[in-house]
């Protein structure tokens, strides 16, 4: 975008002047009198010299260049960044990339005390643009900068293209001309975009910030709805991208807290042993009632978990134990069965084993009281004698909850990282630096062989 620097602090009062187009005689109102260099007749689209008292024709057309009414009509006033501006100019520009034409619109805004600023619109994406207050820092050896530093922010090169001005309306603070060519380079640091424009050796830097269509409509009190934004724009902010780092930091914090929680419960739990006994299952003895009960043991403290562990000297066999943890006082019981089995051998793949000689189960939320276990062991009749031991512990930590907690905490960061990657890929796919495709589909004939 070509632009003069904003006017000095001491500004004259806004002056407007009504004139007539020397080409077609249509009335022309100069809104930025004294500061606009060009004015375009809204009737015949002739470009006139705004500095000339007789509005000398700079460029005229046999017929009207094209019809593309601005979304914000010329003369509309609105408030941008707390200041009132009036729309005084409108132009349509285009670039061609890979034989595809891309068109966007630019609006010239004017405030007699604040000067000029601009709005750009492309497929429902808007930018509030102003001329840079200082020169961005770039590598001067490169004609097209790959990186720029402006006011401490680093901008990355997005695209360079040759733009053509296709249509102009209203007033401009530069000598505008239809058909004018300019080299545009955009560097981005969402939600901002730094643009370098070269026109016949003259270079202008502007800084733009992304705005949503609804913000523009509200600022200018326009009726209806703004056009829907299509796709992802070069400097469009992503709520996912801006949150990725923060969410991962929060996840790290939560992971530390969950470790602290685990350590705290581990210290507090101390896994008190409350019962231990050894038994022997003799299948060779005459069959009778195999079930029996243990001595009574006391579970103290608050309602907490109870771990029942079974260890057996099984080898290529099994023992199954039906347990019932019964509260002697209330008749409340937890009924469960546990198997201890261990098998091993050797085959063509080498040695193998499965199972183990130890098993444990955690009984949930057991209130304090006096308890005993009813035990009913079973085993294969081919293995006449199995020795097994029983251990009962009170208040044991259940580590699975911490694992589930960590997984649950991981899901949102993974989700927003994935969404952010999709968003950024979509953004950069429109740039001069498109990302590599995720799936590289090779359709060469070699694959068919």
């Amino acid at each position: 975008m070509s632009a003069d620097t904003p006017p000095a602090a001491a500004q004259p009062k806004p002056i407007t002047k009504a004139l007539n187009c020397p080409g077609c005689g249509a009335p022309i109102t100069l809104r930025a009198l004294g500061q606009a260099l060009s004015v375009v007749c809204e009737s015949c689209h002739a470009i006139l010299d705004a500095k000339d008292p007789n509005l000398k024709i700079l460029q005229s057309f046999r017929k009207i260049t094209s019809s593309d009414p601005p979304l914000i009509p010329l003369g509309t006033r609105g408030k941008i960044r707390g200041n009132d501006y009036e729309v005084i100019g409108f132009e349509r520009r285009s670039i061609t990339v890979d034989d595809i034409g891309y068109r966007w619109h630019e609006y010239v805004l004017f405030n007699p005390y604040k000067g000029f600023r601009y709005l750009t619109e492309y497929q429902g994406h808007w930018n509030d643009v102003a001329v840079c207050k200082e020169q961005p820092i770039v590598d001067s050896r490169l004609r097209i900068p790959l990186e720029a530093n402006y006011l401490g922010e680093v901008y990355k090169h997005f695209q360079t293209a040759d733009a053509t001005t296709e249509l102009v309306l209203g007033e401009f603070p530069w000598q505008v001309a239809v058909g004018e060519h300019a080299q545009l380079t955009d560097l981005i640091c969402p939600p901002r975009v730094l643009s370098m424009e070269r026109v016949s050796g003259e270079m202008t830097w502007t800084i733009g910030e992304y705005m949503y269509g609804r913000e523009i409509w509200n600022a200018f009190r326009l009726s209806g709805n703004p056009p829907d934004a299509v796709g992802v724009y070069e400097n469009q902010p992503s709520s996912f991208t801006t949150n990725v780092k923060q969410v991962w930091i929060a996840f790290a914090l939560f992971a530390l807290l969950i470790l602290a929680l685990m350590a705290g419960f581990e210290i507090q739990a101390n896994s008190q042993p409350v019962f231990h006994a050894g038994y022997q299952l003799n299948q060779g003895e005459p069959r009778g009632e195999s079930s029996f009960v243990t001595d009574t043991f006391e579970l103290t403290g608050r309602t907490a978990s109870v771990e029942v562990s079974t260890s057996a000297d099984v080898s290529n066999n099994w023992i199954y134990v039906n347990y019932a943890l019964i509260n002697q006082d209330t008749g409340q019981a937890w009924d469960f069965g546990r198997e201890v089995s261990f098998y091993s051998g050797y085959d063509s793949d080498g040695s193998w084993s499965e199972g183990g000689q130890h098993d444990s189960v955690v009984v949930p939320s057991v209130p304090p009281g006096h308890y005993y276990l009813r035990i009913e062991p079973e085993a294969d009749a081919l293995h006449p004698r199995i020795v097994y031991t029983l251990d009962v512990k009170r208040n044991v930590p259940v580590y699975e909850f911490y694992g589930i907690g960590v997984v649950a905490l991981l899901l949102p960061p993974i989700f927003i990282t994935w969404r952010s990657m999709i968003f950024e890929r979509s953004r950069w796919s429109e740039s001069d630096h498109p990302p590599n495709p995720i799936f590289n589909i090779n359709t060469s004939s070699e694959d068919d062989d």
Partner: protein, 61 residues
Amino acid sequence: MFHKLYLIYGVLILSMVGFAEFRGWSLDSMNQLHNVPRSVRDNPGSYRSVYSSYHHYTGGK
């Protein structure tokens, strides 16, 4: 916005993990019964476990 929602979500997850651990919850499944008669202590055979019909795995590769 998402960051704040995640903070709330994280606090909720931590609270749930802490509560589950404090209350002694378990992921093991078992059958809970009420009013088991006192006579089971003297006559364990009178109690029938719901797991007594379990089909045992006999192992082997």
